[in-house]
Symmetry: C2
Subunit: 296 residues, 2 copies
């Protein structure tokens, strides 16, 4: 019998395979020497990857994250690695809208008023008619764009290089002064680090909103903190450099800052999509078919 | 010269007309006896309507609200009334999404954590894959639907009577048990009062989210408060019965309740749309053309 190690029960497993479940918390269960296919528990820290080199029969590692750089040093020669490309797109896009709308519609103010029972009213900003630079135009960026178009915002897509209808990132100096909102959806690579440094932030118009849902390193945290502290820019971020943001960091309590703890990808919409991917992969594996999303 | 009374400056006024500006705060300016066209200041309470019967030359009242029942008793015989149909659609739709996403993505929790600098993380609900009953399927409902479709929610439109692809409100008893989220976008009429009473709320599944952005009278506030207090239902509401919600009302501080003070229509997206309508109406008026949105 071929054994597969899965992060949750209720996954349809082909008859040729036998499943063991480990959710990534506590010690791994015994009897894993015959595990050939390991689906890493999602978002459970450093322990699940450490199991990889301890599985002698391993042939496939399936991660449910899009990123996999941290796994490469642990992956034995000849073991396939498949990633979770696409599983988080909608969850991240949805959280991006939650951040933008919270900032534009003053949700922190209403929640503060709620605690004291105040019906004080004031008109707010809007997303509609806003000019949104969407920096990072992969599958998550396109899911965000569908939301922005529904809300009648003006979307200006920006990618690493220009193509039909898409600006190149080298055009940012010209584009930044025209933006009401900048959304960053960038991976962490040498090219994306510090894309918004002090100079780029200074080029944004007064009261512009900086939204980061990719990786924290794309924005200079000190420079952003200074701009928000001065009341010149606003920020709505799910990622930051460093993570976790130290509890005494001044950005936490600035008026004009909305901060969530890197939970963009971790919502219920992930689960059914991950389940479907794992079930497809197990079916491919049982029939010796080519796997999807193989990255190494 | 024909005088028009406008709520803000910078409105393009045809050469035939002379403009006076009153924003609805403080006393009205003097010299209004020749005002023929009065654009009511928006969302300024009871004083602006009271001016209507005091304008002896009045021919047209333009309100920027969709509702106008409160103006009818004040309107002299022969004076035309035009309303602000459509001006608020996008603003209300956007705020509806802000409420839904705040509830589904636990924004009150993250904002509370922000005050104490906590990076505590947990997965959340999602809007994607949720089944949303959209009760009220006029122009605002359709604007909300565009957002929901972008977010891959399942939309179930419900209107006062059934038609192709739209359920009738008499089907609610059958539909409510299937809903993850119910969005109410209803005007205040005898037929819509108490659409969600204690029995209808009891028919919703555990943890369902009740969203009200139309008029507060559509939901039985006591029944909703009891369900949320019991932890059985969640609520995200911009309108409530009564308004303002008294500051000591128990609903304010319930976990599972998100409350904003009827600000759905009052955002920046309203202003340019209102400006364009007023400018078109003044042009029609100057040329003796038929006005838009005439309701009496």
């Amino acid at each position: 019998m071929t054994r597969v190690l899965l992060p949750w029960p209720d996954i349809a497993v082909p008859g040729e395979l036998e499943a063991t479940v480990w959710d990534g918390t506590g010690a791994p269960p015994p009897g894993l020497d015959d595990v050939e296919f390991y689906v890493l528990p999602y978002d459970r820290g450093a322990e699940p990857p450490k199991l990889i080199p301890r599985l002698p029969s391993l042939r496939v590692v399936q991660t449910l994250s899009a990123g996999y750089d941290n796994l490469l040093p642990l992956l034995p020669e000849g073991v396939l690695l498949a990633n979770g490309r696409g599983l988080h797109d909608l969850s991240v896009a949805e959280h991006t809208l939650a951040l933008i709308l919270a900032a534009q519609r003053d949700m922190p103010r209403w929640f503060a008023q709620q605690r004291v029972g105040s019906w004080d009213r004031e008109h707010t900003r809007s997303l509609a008619d806003s000019r949104v630079l969407l920096v990072g135009y992969g599958s998550i960026g396109k899911a965000i764009e569908r939301y922005l178009v529904a809300g009648e915002a003006e979307v200006v897509p920006v990618a690493s290089s220009a193509r039909e209808g898409v600006h190149g990132i080298d055009e940012l100096p010209r584009l930044l002064p025209t933006a009401d909102i900048v959304v960053l959806v960038l991976p962490d690579t040498p090219a994306t680090r510090g894309v918004l440094g002090a100079g780029e932030l200074a080029a944004l118009p007064d009261a512009a909103l900086v939204v980061n849902v990719g990786r924290g390193t794309a924005v200079d945290t000190d420079a952003l903190t200074a701009e928000v502290a001065a009341g010149r820019l606003r920020a709505a971020i799910d990622v930051v450099d460093p993570e976790p943001l130290p509890s005494d960091h001044p950005l936490w309590t600035l008026e004009g800052a909305v901060i969530t703890p890197h939970i963009g990808g971790g919502s219920a919409s992930f689960h059914p999509r991950a389940q479907r991917l794992v079930e497809r992969q197990l079916a491919h594996f049982a029939k010796d078919e080519t796997l999807e999303n193989v990255v190494r």
